[in-house]
């Protein structure tokens, strides 16, 4: 027998070298998720200069009626916008899922289109449509009726609610539709046989069955609405009121009051965490689960003559959210002056040309947008994959695994703007002074969309039988060999899909970028927002169109990889 190796030698020989990678992944996760939130909390209790603990920030944040009004405005916005989303989304979901309404594909494409448009671009479109004096709609009304002044004013709470709802209702649509898709016609037949009419059946049987899904969607869009930054900044400020997010942004004006901003962001964070918890509880309830059981046969409900009315309603909603804003945005992007209307001598490619090629700033911003979103997507997926792997292969204990997946999903409940403030608080000073560099944006984007990457990676890893890797190892391959030769090739398709799902929101992310970008690290979304201070809507529209174009290209790639439902399905669920 060979001489016994030294204890260390044996330990080293037996050590699974891949352990370092898992440890690194966990460290990165802590830096991205735990540290910013912790710093946010600490900073909110700190005196900016001395670092001493104080409640002064909270006093400053809530001591002024203007600031408290902004909180109330956010709640009004959230509740109204979410309710309007139901008005928009529910009939559409029902019509597309359960009826014989014609033109379902058109409705579906319009909703996908709505989903693709960044909300702030929609807001720009709506400014062009319903600016109080110059908006197309107002001018039309004045033209037709001879009224002195048009009736619409987008710079108002009503306007903000409308625009917010227009770009959030697809969530309601997707949630409700997938729930409706699972209700079998037999359940409705059972009620019909007992003498219940169609309408009554729909209201008393179908609706309660999908109610949990609707409730979940309602909560989601409420949270979307109160976390939104772009649309309120474009609409509420000229409308002369604040919401939480714009107020937070104001705290960052020179000199930035990070502590006050942190203190002020706490209600937003708490509401979000609480409501997500509530949403989880709602969707976990038994009644909802039983719905996902046997599908049974499904027959579309014949609407008769009403189907045209239904289609009319669906198209009206899509017109508000998609067709009208896109038409005026395109008009503005290709116009010398958008106010001059549609005419050949008003057409120009200058806006696009200038944005893409001529102006260093916009050209760099386009490049940065690609680079950052791409790098963020890569980092998010690599990290999510590591965590999903650690958790699924039980490389750590079960409780540690639960904690890791909780942390990875946590950014889902953190509003982008709060995450950005956390990042600002954590990474503007040594030892990790990332502020001003591209890294802070890349990492913030990666963190923000980590949950999307994780949900996808987790599903992907679960689909792989661990024995496939065991087989590699027992035949002499290391864990890395297993990952490289077996796991990665098997996952490449779903990971490419996950990449696109992170990349797309990365290219249009505004709420965290606005706090973290600097001149050298400008991205298109921030640029679009910055440009709004000169009121140059032609330029805004051009930048917006470029972003939409990028998104469409990547969505088409996604279709090829994963089928046409992938975006609505994966980002919303």
């Amino acid at each position: 027998m060979a001489a016994a190796p030294s204890a260390f030698g044996q330990w080293w020989r037996n050590l699974d070298k891949s352990a370092w990678v898992w440890v690194l992944a966990i460290v990165v996760l802590v830096l991205l998720v735990v540290n910013p939130l912790l710093r946010l909390l600490i900073v909110s209790f700190q005196q900016p200069d001395t670092g001493a603990y104080t409640l002064a920030n909270y006093a400053a944040a809530y001591g002024r009626s203007r600031y408290v009004d902004a909180l109330v405005n956010s709640l009004i916005l959230g509740v109204s916008a979410a309710s309007l989303c139901l008005v928009f989304g529910l009939p559409l979901a029902w019509a597309v899922s359960r009826t014989d309404m014609p033109g379902k594909n058109l409705v579906w494409i319009s909703i996908l289109g709505t989903f693709i448009i960044p909300p702030y671009l929609g807001a720009v479109g709506w400014i062009l449509l319903a600016g109080p004096n110059a908006g197309w709609l107002n001018r039309l009304v004045v033209e037709l009726t001879g009224m002195e002044k048009g009736p619409f004013n987008i710079y108002s709470m009503t306007g903000l609610v409308l625009v917010t709802a227009c770009y959030s209702f697809p969530y309601v649509f997707v949630f409700t539709k997938s729930a409706l898709d699972l209700v079998s016609s037999e359940m409705e037949d059972a009620a019909n046989i007992l003498g219940s009419g169609q309408l009554r059946t729909t209201l008393s049987i179908t609706l309660p069955l999908v109610l949990p899904a609707i409730l979940a969607a309602y909560i989601l869009v409420f949270l979307e609405a109160i976390a939104l930054f772009g649309s309120p900044a474009l609409l509420a400020l000229p409308g002369r009121f604040h919401v939480v997010t714009t107020q937070l942004w104001q705290f960052f004006e020179y000199p930035p009051k990070v502590g006050v901003a942190a203190a002020y962001s706490m209600p937003l964070l708490c509401i979000t965490v609480f409501l997500f918890w509530l949403q989880r509880r709602v969707t976990r309830r038994k009644g909802y689960v039983s719905l996902t059981g046997k599908g049974g046969e499904r027959r579309p409900i014949a609407l008769g003559g009403w189907k045209w009315a239904m289609l009319g309603y669906c198209l009206a909603v899509c017109t508000l959210s998609f067709f009208m804003p896109m038409v005026v945005t395109c008009q503005a992007a290709f116009a010398k002056a958008w106010g001059r209307g549609f005419s050949l001598d008003n057409l120009t490619l200058d806006n696009l040309y200038f944005t893409l090629f001529e102006n260093t700033l916009t050209r760099n911003a386009t490049l940065n947008t690609f680079t950052y979103a791409g790098s963020a997507a890569l980092i998010a997926i690599a990290l999510a994959l590591c965590v999903a792997y650690i958790v699924n292969r039980q490389l750590v204990g079960r409780h540690a695994g639960d904690l890791l997946s909780f942390l990875t999903m946590a950014p889902f409940v953190i509003p982008g703007i709060v995450l950005a403030i956390g990042f600002y608080a954590a990474y503007t000073r040594p030892p990790l002074a990332l502020y001003g560099s591209a890294w802070i944006l890349i990492l913030a984007f990666a963190t923000r969309f980590l949950p999307i990457a994780y949900a996808n990676s987790n599903a992907a890893i679960r689909s792989i039988n661990p024995e496939l890797e065991d087989a590699v190892r027992i035949l002499g391959g290391t864990r890395f060999t297993a990952i490289r030769r077996v796991v990665a090739p098997l996952l490449n398709r779903s990971l490419a899909g996950a990449f696109i799902l992170v990349f797309i929101p990365g290219t249009r992310e505004l709420s965290s970028a606005i706090f973290l970008s600097s001149i050298n690290t400008q991205v298109l979304s921030v640029l679009l927002f910055d440009k709004s201070d000169e009121g140059n809507f032609e330029m805004l529209a051009a930048i917006g169109l470029i972003m939409v174009f990028i998104t469409v290209v990547f969505i088409l790639i996604g279709f090829r990889l994963m089928g046409r439902d992938f975006m609505l399905r994966r980002t919303a669920a």
């Binding site: 002369r240 001149i519 009121g535």
Partner: protein
């Protein structure tokens, strides 16, 4: 100008330009040659500027590039406050971007100077400056006036007849302009900040209490008002002379009114930053701003010339005929932070 044609001709023009540049180079005084050579080594520099609109700034940079080939002028145009904020963020991140800082909020400069963030330099072209503006330069040569322009009443002449247009500042408070006035925000724009200080000085804060009742559209930049008038979103505005007339030149139906109670004279300085990545190019740019090429561009864009002996743009109202008002530097420096807060309380944003 057609940009494509421009692009195509670059190659052809290149030869001619370099010839012209060589010619100009031969005529340069020694200090300028020296500075130019040093700047060339730095290759490019960035200006954070709130002095002009994007177009005006682009014109200036183009003129600089033409005069000094080999040194590229980059610019970031934003409102005064955002430019200042960016500068602070860069400092904090320890990544200097701007070599030159041109704000319209004069209160920024004493602050930067006190914190030792500005480069001391005596421009050789300082002597060319209009004498009446010299009082606004920093006595210790940390910042210099490089832009002078007016803020006045503007309107869309397709919507408002000349006889109906406001004649003085309090005319904007007339109820017939309800929902039709456009202004900028003092927390962003140095022009607007100075203007609010002036109005407060002339008419007290009641001016804004009354203005609030007229529901003005509040943009951020003062240049926002031009877009609002062009879009017919608003009819009258407290706006900048330069950008408004520039837009009029393009055929937009805009007019300006020199208020009988005085047009606001905006005197805006520039500085070279101590941490400038390209200090020599920065100095060269200051010299450029104090020389005739820049002045000609500015005059063409309806700003005033800061140096002597430049002919006003054709059709421009001679300065002597305009009643100019300007709060004292102390009033501005002290007043702007105050009015920002007052403004927010009155207008809610």
């Amino acid at each position: 100008m057609n940009r494509y044609a421009n692009g195509c001709c670059v190659a052809l023009l290149g030869a001619a330009l370099s010839l012209a540049a060589a010619c100009a180079y031969a005529q340069m005084p020694a200090w300028e040659k020296e500075l130019y050579e040093a700047a060339k080594k730095e290759k490019q520099f960035t200006v954070y500027s709130a002095h002009y609109n994007t177009e005006g700034m682009a014109n200036l940079c183009a003129a600089f590039d033409k005069k000094y080939p080999g040194v590229k002028c980059n610019f970031v145009r934003t409102t005064a406050q955002v430019a200042f904020q960016r500068l602070q963020q860069d400092l904090q991140a320890n990544t200097a971007v701007a070599s030159v800082f041109s704000s319209t909020d004069v209160s920024h400069y004493p602050d930067l100077k006190k914190r030792g963030l500005l480069l001391q330099y005596r421009p050789n072209n300082l002597g060319k400056m209009v004498d009446s503006l010299k009082q606004y330069n920093d006595a210790e040569n940390f910042y210099w006036v490089t832009s002078a322009a007016l803020m006045l009443i503007t309107y869309n002449n397709a919507l408002v007849a000349e006889k109906d247009a406001p004649k003085n500042w309090p005319d904007l408070l007339d109820p017939r302009w309800k929902g039709k006035v456009s202004i900028g925000h003092p927390a962003f724009s140095g022009y607007v900040g100075t203007w609010v200080v002036l109005m407060r000085k002339l008419y007290g804060w009641q001016y804004f209490d009354k203005l609030e009742k007229n529901q003005p559209q509040i943009g951020r930049s003062v240049n926002d008002t031009v877009t609002m008038l062009n879009a017919k979103e608003r009819w009258v505005a407290a706006g900048p002379e330069g950008t408004t007339l520039q837009s009029r030149d393009k055929g937009n139906p805009l007019s300006v009114v020199y208020p009988t109670d005085g047009s606001l004279l905006m005197v805006s300085p520039s500085s070279v930053q101590k941490n400038a990545p390209a200090p020599n190019a920065g100095k060269l740019f200051i010299e450029f701003l104090l020389d005739k090429e820049a002045a000609e561009v500015q005059v063409r864009d309806h700003a005033m010339s800061v140096i002597k002996g430049i002919k006003p743009a054709p059709g421009a109202k001679p300065v002597e005929e305009i009643k100019l008002v300007r709060p004292t530097e102390e009033e501005i420096t002290k007043g702007i932070p105050e009015v920002k807060e007052q403004f927010r309380n009155t207008f809610g944003v």
